[in-house]
Symmetry: C2
Subunit: 456 residues, 2 copies
Amino acid sequence: MYKENKRTRRIKRPSTWIRMNPAQALSVGFLILIGIGTLLLMLPFATKDRHHLSFIDALFEATSAVCVTGLVVVDTQTTFTVFGQVVLMVLIQVGGLGFMTFGVLIAIMLGKNIGLKGRLMIQESLNQLTIEGMVRLVKFVVAFTLIVEAIGAIILAIRWTEDFGFPKALYYGAFHSVSAFNNAGFDLMGNFSSVTGYIGDFTVIMTLSSLLIIGGIGYIVLLDIKINKSLRKLSLHTKLVLLMTLILNILGTIFIFILEFNNPATIGDLGMKEKLLGSYFHGVVPRTAGFNSLNTGELTLGSQLITMLLMFIGGGSGGTAGGIKVTTFALILLAVWALIKEDEEVNLMGRRIPKELIFRAFTITVYSMGLIALVVFLLSLTENAPLNMLLFEVISAFGTVGMSLGLTPDLSPLGKLLIALMMFAGRVGPLTLAFALARKREKANYKYAEEKIMIG
Amino acid sequence: MYKENKRTRRIKRPSTWIRMNPAQALSVGFLILIGIGTLLLMLPFATKDRHHLSFIDALFEATSAVCVTGLVVVDTQTTFTVFGQVVLMVLIQVGGLGFMTFGVLIAIMLGKNIGLKGRLMIQESLNQLTIEGMVRLVKFVVAFTLIVEAIGAIILAIRWTEDFGFPKALYYGAFHSVSAFNNAGFDLMGNFSSVTGYIGDFTVIMTLSSLLIIGGIGYIVLLDIKINKSLRKLSLHTKLVLLMTLILNILGTIFIFILEFNNPATIGDLGMKEKLLGSYFHGVVPRTAGFNSLNTGELTLGSQLITMLLMFIGGGSGGTAGGIKVTTFALILLAVWALIKEDEEVNLMGRRIPKELIFRAFTITVYSMGLIALVVFLLSLTENAPLNMLLFEVISAFGTVGMSLGLTPDLSPLGKLLIALMMFAGRVGPLTLAFALARKREKANYKYAEEKIMIG
Ligand SMILES: [K+]
Ligand SMILES: [K+]
């Protein structure tokens, strides 16, 4: 519980020429970080055998790391030196933490009534945000992140000592724990193999999946659980995120298990334990970790489409996950259900969902789909690849997932730029959009007369 | 101008067990019509050489005709006798007229203020609809349809006399005029060739495209023009539909021209006149006529995607066109623009667009995309075809367009059923949905307390 501090300082309003809303500040911060990362990755000793990365490749890798996406144009283990790998790890950590802390701040600002009211010193609008409150929040986010990552790193290090020896196992444990918790999906297994070598390894699969689920669920939920402890007192937001995460993970696992059961290129020839663990991991990673224990490029078209849907939905708000978010998806399903039942109101667990929120959910979904369609169209002009590969890659970038049917390393320079832009848009875009939609204020100027038109 | 009749009879409310809203009545009427059509097309003398159609093929063809889609599992000219062809023509005409008249009635009911107010005897709700008003409206629709179709048939008959001789030219003129005005896309050119033989024929291309544009623009617009005559007095709806139709046709033409300029399988090897006419026709038909003068299966992926977008958008409300409608698409673009400008209100031509309408536009778009995604997923399980072919076919069915990359004749029986269902859903679905969304009333029962959640 946070202690009250009577004499809280207000944050000074910045002068006009640099006045940015938090979402804009986040965007600029990310751009600067990507720029620094690009320069560092282009240093001669960042890559092995003095193979310099081209500017576009370095930009792509830095963007992918900062936006915790995990799409890669070169294999991380075989291309980068330990220095280069540590640069990537730091970019992932700073990008993930930056996004999470900003995400939580924005979430609290937007959600005047998301169940945390009165329990946090942090007040409803930026003007009322106290530096003390912000510092405490950031401290909590950083401490929680580092503790969970440390636990993950230790478990992985112990498991991997038999494979790699202790020092390397510790390094690999740290790298993959950071990569998993931040939903970045970068790996050091070599030759774009991700964790396919551990498809039936209970310890590795469960550790990674736990890290990515906790990281992807969002700090709003973690804070709420920390503060309220009992299930009964949790906010509607938290209950919905937990429920949707559970449902989507179970459905994802079942669909992949059924659709890939007889596919010898994925789990068809494996034993039941590997089949189950492989399906579970593939059902969980699209939201939005980007590791793969199956050979993604060999999935049936049905599994590819299920994966695309899960990637599009993503995880919880204010965490390391991307996508339109599980809550947005849930609201759309609830609105369908209300329409079928001819209900005027959308209700959930004894609470009414405000109309503007439903509207915002539909808006975010349409804009996201429109953006994806636009980038797919542009890639159809610059690349020579079938539609499923283009769409998969674009949704993966939008959701900052990092799964790939294998197209990314073969992209043209223009294609790399488009996917890099999409990763950036996918990372800051929906949040900025949600912020813009939520802050739109009724302007006091005159209104035109209303007139209807026919649609549909 | 309609004369007032003081003693107008009210339509009796039907008794409870058959109480249907107009959209439901339309659905049931279509189902009966499809059933009759299926039976007629299965008659031995409906097909040449006594090749009976299988039930699923007859059902598919009847659905395609009634829903004025034009996707075909067998070639119309080489499979059907003149009897079978006339059955298809009648199904197209009845389906088209039925949809148009119901569409106009529903449009008027929904649009209490779409600029026709006070000018039509037809009042705002079903309870107030007079039989006289309905009869007059239906008469206008039928008369206008038949006159325009007759003009189209005569022009085509004159043009085709040199190719086929007069009697056949008259029959072909009538069939293709009906098919074009109703945006059905059925043709009698043989071997699935559609009008590819006339790609550079100014008369044929311009006659067909004029017919399909007029038919697809919607009777709301035609009525408005008939009543108001001067451009200045037209309703916002009419102005928007005309403007969007113009813009989309021009953009469609330009995109196809550029994207196919060097494609030898389509217009690459043709002269400039054929290039222009071919691009123009392909830019216009996806909304939603379904003829093709280019070899659709050979389009570049970029052109396929542009075509899919145009098919998804469709034409005007209350006409023979399908899709989400140009007005829905325009509202979404306007809402994006308002968001960018940080405007609270969505304004257009000095009028404010009601919030519910924007909401409805987003809802219709998301539901339509969701439906398309679902059917594509199901087809990925039943068919063995690449994603672009599946998506193209499903959007074509949803928009009742009838263009195809060649998949439909090779569909499995389950695939045919899915596409047939999609044609039906695409025809009555968006209208029913718009109706359901518009009629939802604030219920007087208790409300739950409001609670927000975080999305995006
Ligand atoms: K990721
Ligand atoms: K059609």
